[in-house]
């Protein structure tokens, strides 16, 4: 009986419910110092003087780090290297680090921070993306041309990055169109707000930095820290304690470099933990954006061509992955519907605001919101049913995405049909005091294709251990998924497979817990290693049982001869025999995503060029709107999601429910506002409102299995996508309820009332 497809309990679960799991925020080392960071309180200025001499002599102060200690320039995923750890000559955002102090106590560190003298010469801040890109605006990075990039990307002054897709003949299609529809949409910043803030503890040992940090992507943190410090990559070791939530916010280094520098300077372990306000104010949120769409349609609603321009806010530098994922915006616009002629420009602009970064569903939820609201506009103009317009244009198996990638396994129609079975499409009736609306949205999404390495060894007791650097971010991909895959391959019980702690010194490279990739990428690598271990076991056992390896099977911790149940060997006996014949049983496995054919001539500046292991989704929402208060209630929600193969159905459901509720927050109230001084206004949970148990709608879920030929046992990414279409489907349902479009998020009661009043007035 395989454990794949069953709802095994997570291996880290008992420690978590008992409160004994040690999170990054709990981790300490004996004799550690406490570090604090001095951060800029202005958005733009020249640094005239930074004098730490008074602070150095303050009680308890052990070391102070400044720009001189971190000579490197870097950028997220090493794409555009425009970030120094500390502001050097120029300050570019409120919250930018100026210095860091290690002291015996937090109070001493704070007191010393206050004693650092900073003299500044203010610059005019550029806080708005449109202003940033306007002719004549002050350059935020005057030296932008000198920055190193991983690939050549179109860049120009305050335009940090641009990704383009140009395919077919959009101009001709627009010239012949029955109708042309245009819209513009604006969306806000959304903060990940994991319960655990960023935290790091570093020590300097044998000339190397050893840092414990709750990161989603240990190898990225290792490389980024090394680059900023000017150290050799392998001289940084990253070890991952239990992670208290990430959602993209813990992909990048954040506090680790400060702890590392100060540990080297003091010779003592250094611990640094963000306060909640530091976390909200300086750890990159989902970017605010403007999306403009212009679409040519035929009389029957067939999309003939689409032009799109996305302007996303990079903030002050590229320490988040907004530029790295800029082309994802265009791919998601052109991945769900047949758009034969397209011209998308995805621009990322510098502003004097805190850098933006990855949040689950990178660069996508606002694009899908814009596309779907725009589709409703088209439906209204043509008087076509909204669901019908989508069904007419839906990508079917064998159709091309906008990048020319053929989606052989497209499953959108099945997802839409499944939702239709669960909740037949019918306009809910409004009544006095309650306006009701409905919407349904299909979606194609990506599984992150990054590489993975893993090894699997057999222990003397017949159990197996996976050694890898995959981070358990909470999804259960490590705590259940990859264990289930390896247990299945080796005929073991779930409890007989262990996984090492994520540690860059021991685990092979892994591309991080992002884009639903752990069960997929690490699952593939672990499966590859497990199959080699299986071969070694069978080789040794074949000799012992005097049977051919092809006649053997691995079941219940034993090797059995097929058809002769009495001829079997327990695994410990095989492992012991192997030890002194071929040597200990251990094998390494690797995964690299297969190349996907696409039209390479149609894109520029694209780091993501295609959708690996594409998944297919449909979401339906029904909402109620109170016409007097503007309050929106999501009364019903339905999800059909293709996961390839469900390794652990319960964990998948949990990802869907969690993603939808994060999306509800994004749609209805989460808004990390930037003030007139370029500072984050919502630095606490008092004003940055998160969804509570009462905000979570009832969600009906259908998990669809449409296997991926290169996924482990057919699995595709399952964790990320559920957030992506939520804003779209809820906003379209609200627009349906109030019979007026909504062109900005979030849909607070005030915004909904305003839209209702505008409609009444006009």
């Amino acid at each position: 009986m395989t454990v794949v497809g069953t709802n095994v309990r997570r291996a880290d679960g008992a420690d978590k419910v008992r409160g004994t799991a040690i999170y990054g925020m709990d981790y300490t080392e004996p004799g550690h110092l406490t570090a604090k960071v001095l951060r800029s309180t202005v958005p733009a200025a020249r640094i005239v003087e930074l004098d730490t001499s008074k602070a150095e002599s303050m009680p308890g102060v052990r070391a102070i780090a400044t720009a001189a200690d971190a000579p490197g320039l870097s950028g997220m995923f090493f794409v555009l290297k425009d970030q120094s750890l500390f502001a050097r000559d120029v300050i570019r955002y409120v919250g930018e680090p100026l210095a860091a102090i290690a002291a015996d106590t937090a109070e001493q560190a704070d007191a010393a921070l206050a004693a650092i003298d900073v003299v500044l010469d203010p610059l005019e801040p550029v806080l708005d993306v449109e202003l940033s890109l306007a002719e004549g605006t002050r350059l935020i990075h005057p030296e932008w041309e000198s920055y190193e990039t991983a690939v050549p990307g179109p860049r120009d002054g305050n335009l940090a990055w641009e990704a383009r897709i140009d395919r077919g003949d959009a101009d001709a299609a627009f010239a012949d169109a029955h109708l042309i529809v245009e819209d513009e949409f604006r969306t806000q910043r959304q903060h990940q707000t994991s319960i655990e803030p960023h935290a790091a503890v570093a020590r300097y040992e044998h000339g190397r930095y050893v840092v414990h940090t709750p990161t989603q992507f240990p190898f990225n943190v290792r490389g980024r820290v090394a680059e900023l410090l000017g150290a050799r990559t392998s001289d940084v070791r990253v070890i991952v304690p239990t992670i208290g939530g990430g959602f993209g916010g813990k992909l990048d280094m954040m506090l680790e470099p400060f702890a590392c520098i100060l540990a080297r300077k003091t010779g003592k372990p250094v611990r640094i933990v963000n306060t909640r306000s530091e976390e909200q104010a300086t750890c990159g949120p989902r970017e605010n954006a403007i999306v403009r769409l212009r679409t040519a349609v035929a009389a029957d609603g067939t999309i003939l061509a689409q032009e799109g321009r996305i302007i996303a806010d990079n903030g002050a530098n590229s320490s988040g992955e907004t530029i790295a994922c800029s082309n994802v915006a265009s791919l998601v616009l052109g991945g769900t519907y047949r758009i034969p002629n397209a011209r998308y420009v995805s621009q990322v602009a510098y502003t004097n605001t805190p850098p933006t970064a990855a949040f689950r569903g990178v660069n996508a939820p606002y694009c899908v919101y814009a596309q779907e609201m725009h589709f409703d506009h088209i439906a209204r103009e043509l008087d076509i049913d909204r669901r019908e317009l989508r069904m007419r244009n839906l990508i079917r198996a064998g159709d091309e995405m906008v990048n020319g990638q053929v989606l052989e396994d497209a499953f959108l129609e099945e997802a839409m049909t499944t939702v239709e079975r669960m909740r037949p499409w019918a306009r809910p009736k409004s009544e006095k005091g309650t306006l009701r609306g409905i919407a349904v949205v299909p979606l194609t999404w990506i599984t992150n294709p990054g590489p993975s390495g893993a090894s699997v060894k057999m222990e003397e007791d017949g159990t197996a251990t996976i050694t890898c650097a995959a981070a358990e971010i909470g999804t259960g991909a490590v705590a259940t998924g990859i264990r289930q895959i390896v247990a299945d391959q080796l005929g073991l019980r779930f409890d007989d497979v262990q996984v090492s702690t994520a540690d860059t010194d021991t685990g092979g490279y892994d591309h991080g817990a992002q884009g639903s990739r752990t069960t997929f990428g690490m699952g593939n690598a672990a499966q590859d290693a497990a199959l080699k271990v299986r071969d070694q076991i069978l080789d040794v056992a074949a000799g012992m049982l005097e049977a051919s390896t092809t006649d053997l099977e691995l079941v219940d911790g034993s090797v059995r001869v097929l058809g002769a149940p009495d001829k079997q060997l327990p695994l410990p006996a095989v492992v012991a025999t192997a030890m002194f014949s071929q040597g200990p049983i251990v094998a390494s496995g690797a995964f690299a995503a297969p190349p996907i054919p696409f039209d390479s001539g149609c894109m520029a500046g694209a780091l993501f060029t295609s959708f690996t292991a594409a998944t297919y989704h449909a979401h339906l929402a029904e909402v109620e709107v109170d016409p007097d208060t503007g309050k929106v209630t999501v009364s019903r929600y339905v999800v059909a999601q293709d996961v390839g193969r469900a390794i652990n159905p319960q964990m998948i459901e949990g990802q869907i429910q969690g993603g939808v509720v994060q999306g509800v927050g994004y749609t209805l109230f989460e808004n990390l506002r930037i003030g007139e001084n370029g500072d984050v206004l919502d630095t606490g949970l008092e004003t940055y409102r998160l969804p509570t148990a009462n905000d979570a709608p009832p969600i009906d879920i259908a998990v669809l299995e449409n296997p991926c030929p290169y996924g482990p046992l057919g699995a595709k990414g399952a964790a990320e996508p559920s957030i992506v279409p939520v804003a779209a489907v809820i906003a379209c349902a609200v627009a349906d309820a109030i019979d007026a479009p909504l062109k900005e998020l979030p849909l607070t009661p005030f915004a909904v009332l305003r839209a209702l009043n505008d409609k009444r007035a006009g």
Binding site: K16, R18, T20, E196, G245, G476, G654, T692, A696
Partner: protein, 157 residues
């Protein structure tokens, strides 16, 4: 000032300023790391402990107010046994745990709820949980777990 109270049935004497938060006493002085400092302003509930059986946000709770009280943290459950409590067990059985940073607080809130309310409805559970933010699960499986744990209420496991 000196304050005496019990934590997980052990007597403690704490020398501290009265406004020191109970959470910092638990974490920094007593080494009980189960309750988490999520927000420090009583909004997220990751620091929830029981004071005389009632849930309290330990990050805002002055240690002076605990004087003479019985404080129960997640480490006090289940007392002296390897077994999980019905709430802890149900959270795992129903997949209610992801990153788990909120879970010590959730466990305490639900433990208090089931003490007060042997057979709560879905809406009772959600109301009780409004002070506990979970950023991962979307709450449904936590609610499912609470309702299932209530089913076992009063029954020996």
């Amino acid at each position: 000032m000196s304050y005496s109270f019990t934590v997980n049935e052990q007597s403690v004497e704490i020398e501290s300023a009265g406004l020191t938060s109970l959470l910092s006493v638990l974490r920094d002085e007593l080494g009980l790391l189960g309750a988490k400092l999520g927000c420090g302003e009583g909004r997220c509930g990751a620091c929830t402990v029981l004071v005389d059986g009632a849930p309290a946000a330990a990050c805002l709770y002055p240690v002076a107010n605990a004087d003479g009280s019985d404080v129960l943290t997640v480490e006090g459950l289940p007392q002296g046994s390897e077994q999980l409590t019905p709430v802890q067990d149900a959270l795992l059985a129903h997949g209610g745990v992801q990153c788990g940073a909120c879970i010590p607080g959730v466990v305490m809130t639900l433990t208090a709820l089931l003490e007060q309310h042997a057979h709560p409805k879905d809406s009772d559970v959600r109301s009780a949980l409004t002070g506990n933010i979970c950023r991962c699960t979307g709450y449904q499986k936590i609610v499912d777990a609470a309702l299932a744990a209530a089913e076992t209420n009063g029954d020996p496991r």
